[in-house]
Amino acid sequence: MSNYKILGKGIPRIDTPQKATGDALYTADIKLPNMLVGKVLHSPLAHAKILNIDVSKAKKVPGVKAVITRDDTFGEKWGVFKYTRDHQLIASDKVRFIGEEVAAVAAVDEETALEALDLIKVDYEPLPAVFDAEEAMKDGAPLIHEDHPNNINIHVKIDVGDVDKAFEKAYLVREDKFTSKDEGYGMLEPYAVIAYYHSDGSIEIWMPNASPHTKAKALSNLLHIPLNKVIVRRPTIGGAFGGRSDIFPLDFITSLLSIKARRPVKVVYTREESMICTRQVHSMVMYAKTGVTKDGKILAQDIKVIMDGGAYSSTGPIAASVPFLVWEETYKLENVRLNSYRVYTNKPIRGMYRCHGRAFLGGLGMQLDMIAEELGIDPVEIRLRNALNPGDMQATKSKIYSCGLKEAIKKAAEKIEWDKKRGKLPFGRGVGIGANGMMCGFPMGIRGGSSCFVKFNEDGYPTIISGVIDNGQGNYHAMVQIASEVLGVPPEEIHIVAGDTEVTTLDVGAYSQAAVLVSGNAVKKACEDAKAQILKLASEMLNCSEDELDIENKIVFSKKDKSKQVPLHKVIRKGLIENRHVMGRGHYMPEVSNDREWVKNPVGQQATTFSFGANAVEVEVDTNTGEVKIINAVGFHDCGFPINIKGVQGQYEGSIASGGVGSTLKEEHIFKDGKVLNADFLEYKIPTSLDVPENVYADAVITNDPKGPFGAKEAGLFGSMNSFQAIANAIYDAVGVWIKDFPITPDKILKALEEKRLKDEG
């Protein structure tokens, strides 16, 4: 694969022992002296004016130390962008969904807090509510935010080339509608926050998060505390999947409780609260019109998508754009129009998701296969004909550098034995394929970069200090493996301090697939800086040039003459005594168009580079029941170069479980009148270990990206973002029906099979 000492190998992760032994502390595990228990009162109504909140009785309950409402805030609103600041994080004038936070109590124990909650009296004036995004857009629908006509929160409009003219030239035009239901994330860790306000005006906060610096910034704004006094600590985090990147009401509320009580406060959300009051996943309706040439090349595409965003903006502009961006990162689209609407409804708030856009990406993938069939082209072939190449420019003007998309498609097809199986398996069995590109990062202005420090103790052992955060995907390990390669120190001997805003500098966070590229490049540069200092010192000790030196296993040695060597700690000590302390420093800013803006100007280099992947599955459909079983899943991922091949394979296994079995086949939130009926793991059907496929194969396609650290790119989202199309297409190959509504549950397949049978019988 390469001559690297540490990179590329599947070595065990540095955090495995802690997790395996239960030594790792998640937020809910942490106990502080004098800590209070917090509980939150949520709105029982979907849409209502708040007339009055009376907390007088609650305050009198013995053991209650703080009660907070809208009156305890500065009235600041938060939103990820200046133009999306629509959320006060505790209800002020009205409530907009069932579950919205209205008040909170901190008390000596949970029973007392619950007793006090029951004594808070809120007078509401109910307002008409709307629970369907298309309904919400109609004239006369109840307005959820008065300054947003037709409840349109975000409208992303992209119009490239001459779409109408190109349609005229098309040999074939198809129009289809695809839909997907509301969804959840299913992180196993319940949401929890601990806040500890100190008398020096600083506040310490622990919570699962995907960007400690973003959390700190929001809290700084909302609490009027400078950033250096907002200390977001680093607990172990039990999964994010895109759903931990934003600021949540509980972060703010717990802080307010601690400030008021002057004691540390912990709130651990129930599963129900975690599923309703942090983030859910957009449901969507997509209308796709596609025109192609006779040989299956996409000439024109006109896409309209309506996403149910729930009551507030959250990461709205990003959510409204990403499914399209992923699509344009995959195929050549010279004439394309997008109208993406994120719409307010009286439902819980929706955020970004690792499998965001199943109706969009699954739908367009299905439509491509429908077109292929009409034209007599193989689904693999139509993908190859439209796939992007290295050096290509995407529709909205991002240049592609390394690109192994076609290789990934071919390898996936070969591995699943496509030619032998597609259209040739017995009724009930089928194969399908999906492919996608993926941005490694977004333009995020000053928040887009990362920096890293490396320090050495006198014994020669290094500590890496980086703002990177790890939600479970292995980012800490990736950083350590990069540092290990550069510094010549074994991974297990490196300590990493990360994701703690007290000591680390601004970092991009772990939610735009940027960690390896951005944080990884910063770590690499910092280590290279430290290494240069070490080699300079060592060259003086060994009387040779720095160029001939290298480090391996904490020994600095001459590559020319192995007898010339000195232990690393002696070099470090020389630096200390001579006032030349070895301190590595590195920073990295992605090469993106900083004037690119999600809504106002969606043109320009969107990410420094892009990863690619293809995923093929073989399914078995029980034609009596409509149940689908994934027999084989194979994935090939152009991740540039795999820092840790086991990590890449693990990501694919997770992708097939969450994006494949979960998002494609099982998961949906059920609502009635704005109330979630299945906010628990009994009725919300995340797959169990018995539901995920046994035969999963994953490998890397190596393209050695010129921008990535050691050629590495993003390594997580290809399987989760294209399982929808692979599985839907395989189901079609198996039983000849297209299911255009996600999740593809057995009842839908059975119904479609019956309809097909009736149609076939005439």
Binding site: A28, H42, A192, T270, E272, N624, F681, L690
Partner: protein
């Protein structure tokens, strides 16, 4: 994380103690056998007893016996599902029960859940098994003592679903249950008569009454099968389930065929298939199709549980056909 509310737990170790306590705490307590169904609901405050009388420490009710002379299988009510699954006696005389027991929830649950607990499982509904906080702002439904059904608009009764896995196969083989009544007397009744078919109060047990034993007579003369449909391969309650039994040694023909359906109404749905299947061959497709249709007709699911009513109804017939297909092979 949801914590349990405060309540007292009593753990009698003998029947004598148990009888004493149930009189002492009278109408302020609930029984808990394995507790696997109950504990999550206590956390959600679906039930709020002051006292929980746990049957876990009473070894008197934990047994599986077979009496050759009467061809009778007796299972103590607190026998764990895991014990049933691992029992050679059950394997030999009533393997269908193992299929049913294996389909309950997941291994961790089956290690503690008991057969008596499963028989006494309360009916379930997406609008009933919800937390105290969730229920704020909506009217009390029938099952909570209110005057409406939140699941079915204008519903005149409680539509909560009979979701236990084990009872339907027991009913299919005419199992009986021994009940300890209020007067400390043992009363034996057919399990079929134990259920009221009512969502609000699914069984006939009065305050303080409990099941001691399950009795299955003439067990070696019966063939019994069980199939369950659920959305995942583990954890889930049934979206629907079917038990099917008939007399053994009938030379490839059905004799006394009976089907019992689960999770498609507020009680087990007993369907005597004699009129359609009696004397018919195992491979009589027409009769089997008619039977499947009859079962679909008798299933009355509403939209208050996993999956859709349309599909659950369909699946009843499909599961039945799958059972019959397995006979032919």
């Amino acid at each position: 994380m949801r914590k349990l509310p405060v309540f007292e737990v009593i753990q009698p170790e003998t029947e004598e103690e148990l009888l004493l306590f149930r009189h002492k705490y009278h109408d302020r307590f609930m029984f808990s056998s394995g507790g696997t169904g109950l504990i999550p609901e206590l956390k959600k405050r679906v039930y709020s007893p002051e006292v929980l009388i746990s049957l876990q420490k009473i070894s008197d009710y934990d047994y599986i016996l077979y009496d050759q002379a009467t061809d009778t299988l007796k299972i103590g009510a607190t026998t764990k599902l895991k014990t049933i699954i691992n029992s050679d006696l059950i394997e030999k005389y009533f393997s269908g029960l193992i299929d049913a027991a294996k389909s309950v929830a997941m291994p961790q649950v089956r290690n503690v859940a008991t057969i008596g607990g499963n028989i006494c499982l309360d009916t379930r509904c997406l609008f009933f098994n919800q937390s105290y906080e969730w229920r704020r702002g909506i009217d009390k439904c029938y099952k909570f003592g209110g005057e409406k059904c939140n699941a079915v608009k204008g519903g005149k009764r409680c539509f909560a679903v009979f979701a236990a896995d084990i009872p339907i196969i027991l009913i299919s083989v005419n199992a009986k249950v021994k009940i300890m009544n209020e007067l400390d007397e043992e009363v034996v009744i057919p399990l079929k008569e134990f259920y009221t078919g009512k969502g609000k109060k699914p069984n006939i047990l009065k305050e303080g009454e409990f099941i001691k034993e399950i009795i299955i007579e003439n067990i070696s003369k019966k063939e019994a099968f069980f199939k369950k449909f659920r959305l995942r391969q583990s954890i889930d309650f049934p979206a629907c389930s079917v038990a099917f039994s008939f007399d053994k040694d009938s030379n490839g023909k059905f004799k006394n065929p009976v089907a019992v359906l689960g999770a498609v109404d507020s009680g087990p749905v007993f369907v005597d298939l004699k009129g359609i299947l009696e004397g018919k061959n195992f491979n009589d497709d027409e009769a089997i199709e008619l039977s499947a249709k009859e079962l679909e007709k008798r299933a009355k699911p509403v939209d208050n549980f996993s999956s859709t009513p349309y599909y659950r109804k369909k699946m009843v017939g499909i599961l039945f056909k799958k059972i019959v297909q397995s006979l032919e092979s």
